[in-house]
Symmetry: C2
Subunit: 342 residues, 2 copies
C-alpha cells in the first residue's frame, strides 16, 4: 500500500512511528505492507520518492529540527497539491492543522486526492465539520474510501462504534466530554486552582494553545458534535448553526457550590434526533457525581451513546495525543487494507 503524508506534525509522526514499530504485525495479521512514497509539510519541507522513503530517517531529521529536503534522495519543491498530483499513491494521509472556519487547506487536499481515486484518511476536523456530505459523496462516486476515525476522540474508536459496531441500533443521543483541555482545566479548578492558573497549567503541559479560544470557547467540541450530527444523522448544517458555550464563565465559586449539591461541571457536547431533525449543542452542565461522565477526569474523553437496543453504552478513552491520534489513522489504514489488498 503506497502512502503519502500531507502534514507531518505530531499526528503524522505518531503514525509513522507506529508503522515502523508494528511493521511485522501489520504484514502478518492484516496483509498491510505500507510504502511511504511522499511526505509534504509546509514547515518541514517535502520529499517524494517512488522507491519508498526511509521513515526512520525522516523521523530523525524532523526530531533534530532539520528539513525533510535534507534527505539524500527525493527532495521535492512542489506544494501539497502538486504532490497529490505527482505521487503514485493508494492512500493520502491528511493531517494538516485544523481550520474550523474554512476547512482549508485540508479540504482542497482531500478533494484532489479523491478526484484522483486515492483513498483518504484524515484526522482533520475542518473538512468533516464543513464539507462531510460533499466529500463522502465524491469518495463514493470515485469508489474509494474516506475515513476519519481520528476526528473525534482520537484513536478511541467512537466513529467505528457508531457506524459499524452498533449496526442495527437506532442512535437516540450521543453525549459526552469531547474536549480534553477544558476537562483538564475543570478538573484542576475543582482541586482549587483559579481558571487562569488552571489554563496556564494546561498550556505548560501542551494541552492548551497560546491562544486557547478553540478549546475554552467550546469550538473544538462544537466541530466534533457537528461531525457526529452529519455522520450519524445526515444533518446538513455548519458548526456555527448550533448553540455553543465554553467554560470561560465558570467560576471557582460555581464549581464549589455544585460540589456541595453532589454535582460536577463538565463541558458537554450533545447530538440528538428530534422528530427526525438532528440537534446539537455544546455547553457546561452540572453532571450528577454518580453519572459515568462525572468520573472522567483530566484530559480523558468520554461519550455516552443512547440506543434503542442497549440503552446507554459509554466509551471512555484518550481524546488526543501523538501516538493515540496516529493510531486512529492506523485503524483506518487497516480497514482499507482489509477491504482490498493493495
Amino acid at each position: 500500500m503506497r502512502l503519502i503524508f500531507v502534514g507531518f506534525g505530531t499526528v503524522g509522526q505518531g503514525l509513522a512511528e507506529l508503522l515502523i514499530e508494528k511493521k511485522d504485525l501489520l504484514s502478518s495479521m492484516y496483509g498491510l505492507e505500507p510504502v511511504v512514497v511522499g511526505i509534504s509539510d509546509e514547515m518541514k519541507g517535502s520529499v517524494l520518492d517512488p522507491e519508498g522513503i526511509d521513515l526512520l530517517k525522516a523521523l530523525d531529521l524532523v526530531k533534530a529540527e532539520k528539513l525533510l529536503c535534507d534527505m539524500d534522495v527525493g527532495k521535492y519543491d512542489g506544494s501539497a497539491l502538486d504532490m497529490i498530483r505527482d505521487a503514485d499513491a493508494d492512500v493520502m494521509l491528511e493531517a494538516t492543522y485544523t481550520n474550523i472556519k474554512t476547512g482549508e487547506p485540508a479540504t482542497s487536499h482531500i478533494k484532489a486526492a479523491l478526484e484522483k481515486k486515492v483513498h483518504v484518511v484524515t484526522t482533520n476536523k475542518g473538512p468533516l465539520a464543513l464539507h462531510y456530505h460533499e466529500l463522502a459523496q465524491k469518495a463514493e462516486a470515485k469508489g474509494v474510501q474516506f475515513l476519519f476515525e481520528g476526528t473525534v476522540m482520537s484513536g478511541t474508536p467512537l466513529i467505528n462504534l457508531l457506524r459499524e459496531t452498533l449496526a442495527g441500533s437506532t442512535i437516540k443521543e450521543i453525549k459526552g466530554i469531547l474536549n480534553g483541555t477544558t476537562n483538564y482545566i475543570l478538573t484542576r479548578m475543582e482541586e482549587g486552582l483559579s481558571y487562569g492558573d488552571a489554563l496556564k497549567k494546561a498550556q505548560e503541559l501542551g494541552y492548551a494553545e497560546a491562544v486557547p479560544d478553540a478549546d475554552v470557547l467550546g469550538w473544538d467540541a462544537l466541530a466534533k458534535v457537528t461531525i457526529l450530527a452529519k455522520v450519524v444523522y445526515g444533518a446538513k448544517v455548519n458548526p456555527f448553526d448550533y448553540p455553543c458555550q465554553g467554560i470561560t464563565k465558570i467560576t471557582a465559586t460555581a464549581i464549589e457550590e455544585a460540589k456541595g449539591r453532589g454535582k460536577r461541571f463538565k463541558l458537554i457536547g450533545k447530538v440528538w434526533s428530534e422528530k427526525g431533525i438532528a440537534k446539537a449543542a455544546v455547553a457546561p452542565e452540572e453532571v450528577d457525581i454518580s453519572h459515568p461522565l462525572a468520573s472522567v477526569m483530566g484530559a480523558t474523553n468520554a461519550v455516552t451513546i443512547t440506543t434503542d437496543t442497549l440503552g446507554n453504552v459509554t466509551i471512555v478513552g484518550p481524546g488526543a495525543g501523538r501516538k493515540e491520534t496516529g493510531y486512529s489513522m492506523l485503524i483506518d489504514l487497516i480497514k482499507i487494507a482489509s477491504a482490498k489488498q493493495i
Copy 2:
C-alpha cells in the same frame, strides 16, 4: 438468510422481537432478510417449516405459556440435533442455558451445525469457555462463521472491540465488572442492605437465580474471563484453572470500612499476558472511588482495556437483558450478512 433457533428463552425471544421490529431497516441497510425455518426448545416444543415460521405467532404462543407445537403448521417432534440435521438453514442461533461444567447440550449443537457448514451465532458461555479453540478451528475448516458477541457483556460490543475495532493494538490487560448480579448486590450493600437482603432483592428482580452460586461465587465472571483469555490470548485452559473468589465473604462492615478509605468493593475479572502466558483471575477488589470502574453501579457491566496504542479504553454498558442479549445475536447476524449475501 434462513435461521433456526435452538433454545427459545428470553434471549431467543429478544432476538425474535428485534427481527420483527427492525425488519425494514435490516433489509434496506444490510440486505438482511431473515426467514426463521425452525425453532427448537426443550420446554416450549418445536416447530420446523421450510416456508418460514410466523415469528409473531410463535412469540404470542410463548408469551401465553402455550407450546410452539400449537402452531398450525410445522409441528416437529425431533430433538434439537434432529432439527439441525433436518433443517435447511444458513445460520443456527444457539441460546440454550449455559452449563459451565459440561458445555452441553450447546457444544453438541454447535458441532453438529458447523459440521453441516451452517454458520453459528451463540450467547452460550459454556462451549466458548470450554471448547473455543476446537469450535473455532472447525468453523474455519468448514468455511463458516462462529460468532459469540453476547457471551461477554451481552450486546455491549466488547468482543468486537477486542477483535476488530482495536485492530493493530496489543492488548496488555482486560479488567472489569463482568457480572451484573454481584455488582447490583454490592451496590445495594453499600446503601446499607445486608448481603442476604441484597441477594433477596436481586432474586426478586430476576437478576439472581434461586440457586445463586454461579453469580455470587464468581463462576459466571470466571467463564467470561476464560473466554477472553482464549479469544484474545489463545490460552489453552479450562475455567477452573484460574483462581476465583466470589462476593460471599464480603461483609457490610468491610464495605463500610472501604468507603472510609475512599474505596469501593467491586467483583473484578481480569485477564492479562505475562511473558506471553495468559493469566486470569476473579476476585473482589477495593477500587479507588475515582477509578472509572468505581462509578459503575447496579447491574451494569464495564471493562477497561489497556493497550499499547491508546493506554486505557473503557466500555460501559448492559451485561444482560432480553433485548440487550438478543441484540448481540443481531450484531452477529449483520456481520454474517455483510460478509456474504445469503
